[in-house]
Amino acid sequence: MLRIKSPYSQCLGGLRRLTGRPFATSRSVGLRQSQAAPSQPGSATFGASLGRFAASARRAATFTFYSALVIGALGFTGVATYYFAQELLLPSSDVQVFQRAFHLIEQDAKSRELLGEKLKAHGEQTNNRWAHNRPIASRRSVDHYGREHVVMQFHVDGEKNTALARLELIDNAGKRDFRYLVLEIPGHGRHYLINETPSKPKGRGLFGIQWGPKKN
Protein backbone atom coordinates (compact mmCIF):
# COMPACT_ATOMS: atom_id res chain seq x y z
CA MET A 1 0.00 0.00 0.00
CA LEU A 2 1.30 3.41 -0.84
CA ARG A 3 2.27 5.30 2.30
CA ILE A 4 2.01 9.04 1.61
CA LYS A 5 2.74 10.89 4.79
CA SER A 6 0.96 14.28 4.92
CA PRO A 7 2.23 16.81 7.48
CA TYR A 8 -0.96 16.30 9.45
CA SER A 9 -0.45 12.60 9.82
CA GLN A 10 3.22 13.12 10.56
CA CYS A 11 2.31 15.42 13.47
CA LEU A 12 -0.27 12.97 14.70
CA GLY A 13 2.15 10.10 14.36
CA GLY A 14 4.76 12.09 16.27
CA LEU A 15 2.33 12.92 19.05
CA ARG A 16 1.25 9.33 19.15
CA ARG A 17 4.84 8.25 19.66
CA LEU A 18 5.28 10.91 22.37
CA THR A 19 2.20 10.00 24.37
CA GLY A 20 2.48 6.32 23.70
CA ARG A 21 -1.20 5.69 23.13
CA PRO A 22 -3.33 5.87 20.04
CA PHE A 23 -5.92 8.66 19.76
CA ALA A 24 -9.60 7.94 19.63
CA THR A 25 -9.90 9.21 16.09
CA SER A 26 -6.89 7.51 14.66
CA ARG A 27 -7.53 4.87 12.11
CA SER A 28 -5.13 2.79 10.14
CA VAL A 29 -2.73 5.40 8.77
CA GLY A 30 -2.49 3.67 5.44
CA LEU A 31 -6.22 3.92 4.79
CA ARG A 32 -6.22 7.62 5.62
CA GLN A 33 -3.34 8.25 3.23
CA SER A 34 -4.84 6.46 0.29
CA GLN A 35 -6.43 8.91 -2.11
CA ALA A 36 -8.03 6.17 -4.17
CA ALA A 37 -10.06 4.62 -1.35
CA PRO A 38 -13.82 5.17 -1.82
CA SER A 39 -15.87 7.14 0.79
CA GLN A 40 -17.56 4.67 3.03
CA PRO A 41 -19.39 5.23 6.26
CA GLY A 42 -16.91 4.88 9.03
CA SER A 43 -13.99 6.35 7.10
CA ALA A 44 -12.50 9.79 7.60
CA THR A 45 -13.04 10.99 4.00
CA PHE A 46 -16.78 10.42 4.31
CA GLY A 47 -16.84 12.67 7.35
CA ALA A 48 -14.82 15.29 5.49
CA SER A 49 -17.13 15.31 2.47
CA LEU A 50 -20.14 15.44 4.77
CA GLY A 51 -18.59 18.47 6.44
CA ARG A 52 -18.02 20.14 3.06
CA PHE A 53 -21.62 19.45 2.08
CA ALA A 54 -22.87 20.90 5.36
CA ALA A 55 -20.72 24.01 4.87
CA SER A 56 -22.00 24.61 1.35
CA ALA A 57 -25.57 23.98 2.47
CA ARG A 58 -25.12 26.57 5.20
CA ARG A 59 -23.69 29.05 2.70
CA ALA A 60 -26.58 28.45 0.33
CA ALA A 61 -29.11 28.92 3.12
CA THR A 62 -27.61 32.21 4.33
CA PHE A 63 -27.31 33.47 0.75
CA THR A 64 -30.96 32.64 0.10
CA PHE A 65 -32.04 34.30 3.34
CA TYR A 66 -30.13 37.51 2.71
CA SER A 67 -31.20 37.66 -0.93
CA ALA A 68 -34.83 37.28 0.09
CA LEU A 69 -34.35 40.01 2.70
CA VAL A 70 -32.79 42.43 0.20
CA ILE A 71 -35.41 41.75 -2.47
CA GLY A 72 -38.21 42.09 0.09
CA ALA A 73 -36.80 45.39 1.34
CA LEU A 74 -36.43 46.73 -2.21
CA GLY A 75 -40.00 45.69 -2.96
CA PHE A 76 -41.31 47.44 0.13
CA THR A 77 -39.32 50.55 -0.81
CA GLY A 78 -40.96 50.47 -4.23
CA VAL A 79 -44.41 50.16 -2.68
CA ALA A 80 -43.71 53.03 -0.27
CA THR A 81 -42.44 55.22 -3.13
CA TYR A 82 -45.55 54.43 -5.16
CA TYR A 83 -47.89 55.41 -2.35
CA PHE A 84 -45.82 58.51 -1.60
CA ALA A 85 -46.11 59.65 -5.23
CA GLN A 86 -49.80 58.83 -5.39
CA GLU A 87 -50.70 60.64 -2.16
CA LEU A 88 -48.41 63.64 -2.19
CA LEU A 89 -47.18 64.37 -5.69
CA LEU A 90 -50.01 63.66 -8.11
CA PRO A 91 -52.25 66.69 -8.72
CA SER A 92 -55.37 64.59 -8.17
CA SER A 93 -54.32 63.43 -4.71
CA ASP A 94 -56.13 64.35 -1.51
CA VAL A 95 -53.34 66.63 -0.35
CA GLN A 96 -53.27 68.68 -3.55
CA VAL A 97 -57.07 69.02 -3.67
CA PHE A 98 -57.04 70.12 -0.03
CA GLN A 99 -54.34 72.73 -0.68
CA ARG A 100 -56.19 74.06 -3.72
CA ALA A 101 -59.50 74.32 -1.87
CA PHE A 102 -57.93 76.00 1.15
CA HIS A 103 -56.20 78.47 -1.16
CA LEU A 104 -59.57 79.40 -2.65
CA ILE A 105 -61.08 79.80 0.82
CA GLU A 106 -58.22 82.02 1.97
CA GLN A 107 -58.68 84.32 -1.00
CA ASP A 108 -62.45 84.61 -0.66
CA ALA A 109 -63.43 87.89 0.99
CA LYS A 110 -66.73 86.66 2.40
CA SER A 111 -65.04 83.69 4.10
CA ARG A 112 -62.47 85.94 5.68
CA GLU A 113 -65.26 88.20 6.87
CA LEU A 114 -67.19 85.29 8.40
CA LEU A 115 -64.30 83.43 9.94
CA GLY A 116 -61.62 85.99 10.69
CA GLU A 117 -58.34 86.85 9.09
CA LYS A 118 -55.92 84.10 10.20
CA LEU A 119 -57.24 80.86 8.79
CA LYS A 120 -55.94 77.38 9.54
CA ALA A 121 -57.15 74.16 8.00
CA HIS A 122 -56.98 70.68 9.43
CA GLY A 123 -58.60 67.29 9.14
CA GLU A 124 -60.43 64.96 11.47
CA GLN A 125 -59.25 64.26 14.97
CA THR A 126 -57.80 60.80 15.52
CA ASN A 127 -57.10 59.01 18.78
CA ASN A 128 -53.67 58.06 17.56
CA ARG A 129 -51.01 59.70 19.69
CA TRP A 130 -48.33 59.20 17.06
CA ALA A 131 -50.19 60.82 14.17
CA HIS A 132 -48.61 64.19 13.55
CA ASN A 133 -51.26 65.50 11.19
CA ARG A 134 -54.99 65.18 11.42
CA PRO A 135 -56.00 63.18 8.35
CA ILE A 136 -58.35 64.63 5.77
CA ALA A 137 -61.60 62.73 5.30
CA SER A 138 -62.29 61.95 1.69
CA ARG A 139 -64.14 59.48 -0.43
CA ARG A 140 -63.46 58.62 -4.04
CA SER A 141 -65.78 56.99 -6.52
CA VAL A 142 -66.00 56.52 -10.25
CA ASP A 143 -69.25 57.21 -12.02
CA HIS A 144 -70.57 55.46 -15.10
CA TYR A 145 -68.99 58.02 -17.43
CA GLY A 146 -65.56 57.11 -16.10
CA ARG A 147 -65.03 60.35 -14.21
CA GLU A 148 -63.62 60.24 -10.72
CA HIS A 149 -65.51 62.05 -7.95
CA VAL A 150 -63.67 63.16 -4.86
CA VAL A 151 -65.88 64.17 -1.93
CA MET A 152 -63.87 65.76 0.87
CA GLN A 153 -64.40 67.63 4.08
CA PHE A 154 -62.05 69.51 6.37
CA HIS A 155 -62.23 72.08 9.14
CA VAL A 156 -61.20 75.69 8.80
CA ASP A 157 -60.39 77.57 12.00
CA GLY A 158 -60.47 81.33 12.11
CA GLU A 159 -60.42 83.87 14.90
CA LYS A 160 -64.18 84.36 14.92
CA ASN A 161 -65.54 80.96 13.89
CA THR A 162 -64.77 77.40 12.95
CA ALA A 163 -66.27 76.15 9.71
CA LEU A 164 -66.65 72.79 8.04
CA ALA A 165 -65.56 73.00 4.41
CA ARG A 166 -67.08 70.48 2.04
CA LEU A 167 -66.21 70.01 -1.56
CA GLU A 168 -66.69 67.73 -4.50
CA LEU A 169 -64.17 67.58 -7.28
CA ILE A 170 -64.71 65.86 -10.61
CA ASP A 171 -61.68 64.52 -12.42
CA ASN A 172 -62.58 64.22 -16.07
CA ALA A 173 -59.46 62.67 -17.61
CA GLY A 174 -57.15 65.42 -16.39
CA LYS A 175 -59.60 68.30 -16.07
CA ARG A 176 -60.19 68.77 -12.37
CA ASP A 177 -63.08 71.07 -11.53
CA PHE A 178 -64.94 71.70 -8.34
CA ARG A 179 -68.57 70.81 -8.45
CA TYR A 180 -69.15 72.65 -5.21
CA LEU A 181 -67.11 74.18 -2.42
CA VAL A 182 -69.11 75.22 0.60
CA LEU A 183 -68.35 76.46 4.09
CA GLU A 184 -70.81 75.40 6.78
CA ILE A 185 -70.56 77.80 9.70
CA PRO A 186 -72.60 77.11 12.83
CA GLY A 187 -75.01 79.99 13.22
CA HIS A 188 -74.45 81.36 9.73
CA GLY A 189 -75.68 78.49 7.57
CA ARG A 190 -73.88 77.68 4.36
CA HIS A 191 -71.66 79.90 2.27
CA TYR A 192 -71.10 78.57 -1.24
CA LEU A 193 -67.85 79.55 -2.88
CA ILE A 194 -68.47 77.40 -5.95
CA ASN A 195 -71.78 75.82 -6.81
CA GLU A 196 -72.11 74.04 -10.11
CA THR A 197 -74.30 71.20 -8.94
CA PRO A 198 -76.57 70.31 -11.84
CA SER A 199 -80.20 70.57 -10.78
CA LYS A 200 -83.15 68.82 -12.25
CA PRO A 201 -85.53 71.12 -14.10
CA LYS A 202 -88.76 71.73 -12.23
CA GLY A 203 -91.64 69.84 -13.85
CA ARG A 204 -94.65 72.08 -14.12
CA GLY A 205 -97.56 70.01 -15.43
CA LEU A 206 -99.36 66.96 -14.16
CA PHE A 207 -96.98 64.41 -12.61
CA GLY A 208 -94.17 66.88 -13.34
CA ILE A 209 -94.36 66.42 -17.09
CA GLN A 210 -94.93 69.26 -19.48
CA TRP A 211 -97.86 68.05 -21.62
CA GLY A 212 -98.66 69.44 -25.00
CA PRO A 213 -96.41 70.63 -27.85
CA LYS A 214 -93.00 72.17 -27.17
CA LYS A 215 -93.43 75.80 -26.23
CA ASN A 216 -90.04 77.11 -27.28
Binding site: A80, F84, E87, F98, F102, A121, N127, N133, I136
Partner: protein, 153 residues
Amino acid sequence: MSGDHSRDPCPMVIVNDFGGAFAMGAIGGTIWHSVKGFRNSPVGERWQGVKSAVRLRAPTLGGNFGAWGGMFSFFDCTVKAVRKTEDPWNSIISGFLVGGALAVRGGWKHMRNSAIICGFILAGMEGAGIAMSRMMAENPVAPALPEAPLAAA
Protein backbone atom coordinates in the same frame (compact mmCIF):
# COMPACT_ATOMS: atom_id res chain seq x y z
CA MET B 1 -62.61 52.51 28.80
CA SER B 2 -59.53 53.85 27.05
CA GLY B 3 -58.52 57.34 28.06
CA ASP B 4 -57.95 60.33 25.86
CA HIS B 5 -55.13 59.31 23.56
CA SER B 6 -55.15 62.36 21.34
CA ARG B 7 -52.14 64.60 20.92
CA ASP B 8 -51.73 67.78 22.90
CA PRO B 9 -51.94 71.06 21.02
CA CYS B 10 -48.81 72.36 19.51
CA PRO B 11 -46.51 73.95 22.04
CA MET B 12 -47.04 71.34 24.74
CA VAL B 13 -46.64 68.43 22.37
CA ILE B 14 -42.93 69.21 21.97
CA VAL B 15 -42.32 68.21 25.59
CA ASN B 16 -44.33 65.03 25.08
CA ASP B 17 -42.43 64.06 21.98
CA PHE B 18 -39.08 64.81 23.57
CA GLY B 19 -39.97 62.62 26.53
CA GLY B 20 -41.23 59.80 24.35
CA ALA B 21 -38.14 59.84 22.18
CA PHE B 22 -35.85 59.96 25.21
CA ALA B 23 -37.64 56.97 26.72
CA MET B 24 -37.31 55.02 23.51
CA GLY B 25 -33.62 55.83 23.23
CA ALA B 26 -32.90 55.06 26.88
CA ILE B 27 -34.71 51.73 26.91
CA GLY B 28 -33.41 50.68 23.51
CA GLY B 29 -29.91 51.77 24.50
CA THR B 30 -30.16 49.77 27.71
CA ILE B 31 -31.06 46.62 25.84
CA TRP B 32 -28.46 47.12 23.14
CA HIS B 33 -25.58 48.06 25.41
CA SER B 34 -26.39 45.39 27.98
CA VAL B 35 -26.02 42.74 25.29
CA LYS B 36 -22.88 44.43 24.03
CA GLY B 37 -21.44 44.74 27.52
CA PHE B 38 -22.26 41.12 28.25
CA ARG B 39 -20.60 39.85 25.13
CA ASN B 40 -17.51 42.00 25.40
CA SER B 41 -16.70 41.09 28.98
CA PRO B 42 -14.65 38.17 30.29
CA VAL B 43 -16.45 35.32 31.97
CA GLY B 44 -16.94 36.09 35.63
CA GLU B 45 -17.01 39.82 35.01
CA ARG B 46 -20.05 39.79 32.76
CA TRP B 47 -22.53 41.39 35.12
CA GLN B 48 -20.00 44.16 35.88
CA GLY B 49 -19.52 44.63 32.16
CA VAL B 50 -23.24 44.95 31.59
CA LYS B 51 -23.65 47.48 34.38
CA SER B 52 -20.76 49.67 33.30
CA ALA B 53 -21.68 49.59 29.60
CA VAL B 54 -25.28 50.52 30.30
CA ARG B 55 -24.31 53.25 32.76
CA LEU B 56 -21.89 54.78 30.33
CA ARG B 57 -23.70 54.52 27.01
CA ALA B 58 -27.45 54.26 27.41
CA PRO B 59 -28.07 57.84 28.61
CA THR B 60 -26.13 59.18 25.61
CA LEU B 61 -28.36 57.24 23.23
CA GLY B 62 -31.42 58.47 25.10
CA GLY B 63 -30.20 62.03 24.78
CA ASN B 64 -29.54 61.67 21.06
CA PHE B 65 -32.96 60.21 20.40
CA GLY B 66 -34.57 62.82 22.60
CA ALA B 67 -32.78 65.63 20.80
CA TRP B 68 -33.93 64.30 17.46
CA GLY B 69 -37.53 63.81 18.57
CA GLY B 70 -37.79 67.14 20.37
CA MET B 71 -36.30 69.08 17.48
CA PHE B 72 -38.55 67.25 15.02
CA SER B 73 -41.63 68.17 16.99
CA PHE B 74 -40.43 71.76 17.34
CA PHE B 75 -39.93 72.12 13.60
CA ASP B 76 -43.22 70.33 12.95
CA CYS B 77 -45.10 72.90 15.03
CA THR B 78 -43.22 75.74 13.33
CA VAL B 79 -43.97 74.45 9.83
CA LYS B 80 -47.63 73.91 10.77
CA ALA B 81 -47.87 77.51 11.93
CA VAL B 82 -46.18 78.86 8.81
CA ARG B 83 -48.10 76.75 6.28
CA LYS B 84 -51.37 76.85 8.22
CA THR B 85 -52.34 73.38 6.92
CA GLU B 86 -51.64 69.87 8.17
CA ASP B 87 -50.49 67.40 5.58
CA PRO B 88 -47.63 64.89 5.19
CA TRP B 89 -45.38 67.54 3.63
CA ASN B 90 -45.00 69.04 7.10
CA SER B 91 -43.24 65.92 8.35
CA ILE B 92 -40.91 65.84 5.37
CA ILE B 93 -39.95 69.50 5.71
CA SER B 94 -39.48 69.05 9.46
CA GLY B 95 -37.26 66.04 8.85
CA PHE B 96 -35.19 68.08 6.42
CA LEU B 97 -34.79 70.85 8.99
CA VAL B 98 -33.91 68.45 11.81
CA GLY B 99 -31.27 66.75 9.71
CA GLY B 100 -29.71 70.11 9.03
CA ALA B 101 -30.05 71.44 12.56
CA LEU B 102 -28.41 68.45 14.22
CA ALA B 103 -25.41 68.64 11.88
CA VAL B 104 -24.62 72.33 12.37
CA ARG B 105 -21.27 71.58 13.92
CA GLY B 106 -20.00 69.98 10.75
CA GLY B 107 -20.26 72.96 8.43
CA TRP B 108 -22.49 73.79 5.48
CA LYS B 109 -21.75 70.75 3.36
CA HIS B 110 -22.39 68.33 6.17
CA MET B 111 -25.58 70.19 7.06
CA ARG B 112 -26.82 70.02 3.49
CA ASN B 113 -26.08 66.31 3.12
CA SER B 114 -27.54 65.42 6.48
CA ALA B 115 -30.67 67.46 5.77
CA ILE B 116 -31.26 65.78 2.42
CA ILE B 117 -30.75 62.30 3.85
CA CYS B 118 -33.06 62.95 6.78
CA GLY B 119 -35.70 64.40 4.46
CA PHE B 120 -35.57 61.31 2.28
CA ILE B 121 -35.79 59.04 5.31
CA LEU B 122 -38.92 60.84 6.46
CA ALA B 123 -40.42 60.77 3.00
CA GLY B 124 -39.87 57.03 2.99
CA MET B 125 -41.44 56.72 6.42
CA GLU B 126 -44.47 58.76 5.32
CA GLY B 127 -44.85 56.58 2.25
CA ALA B 128 -44.51 53.45 4.34
CA GLY B 129 -47.08 54.80 6.80
CA ILE B 130 -49.54 55.48 4.02
CA ALA B 131 -48.85 52.04 2.54
CA MET B 132 -49.42 50.35 5.90
CA SER B 133 -52.67 52.19 6.53
CA ARG B 134 -53.88 51.40 3.03
CA MET B 135 -53.06 47.74 3.42
CA MET B 136 -54.72 47.54 6.80
CA ALA B 137 -57.72 49.38 5.35
CA GLU B 138 -57.86 51.96 8.09
CA ASN B 139 -59.91 54.60 6.40
CA PRO B 140 -60.08 57.92 8.10
CA VAL B 141 -63.62 59.06 8.67
CA ALA B 142 -65.30 59.23 5.29
CA PRO B 143 -67.30 62.42 4.89
CA ALA B 144 -71.07 62.22 5.02
CA LEU B 145 -72.67 63.24 1.77
CA PRO B 146 -74.41 66.56 2.28
CA GLU B 147 -78.16 66.79 1.95
CA ALA B 148 -79.84 68.89 -0.69
CA PRO B 149 -78.40 72.38 -0.83
CA LEU B 150 -79.99 74.76 1.63
CA ALA B 151 -80.13 78.47 1.18
CA ALA B 152 -77.72 80.39 3.41
CA ALA B 153 -79.47 81.64 6.54
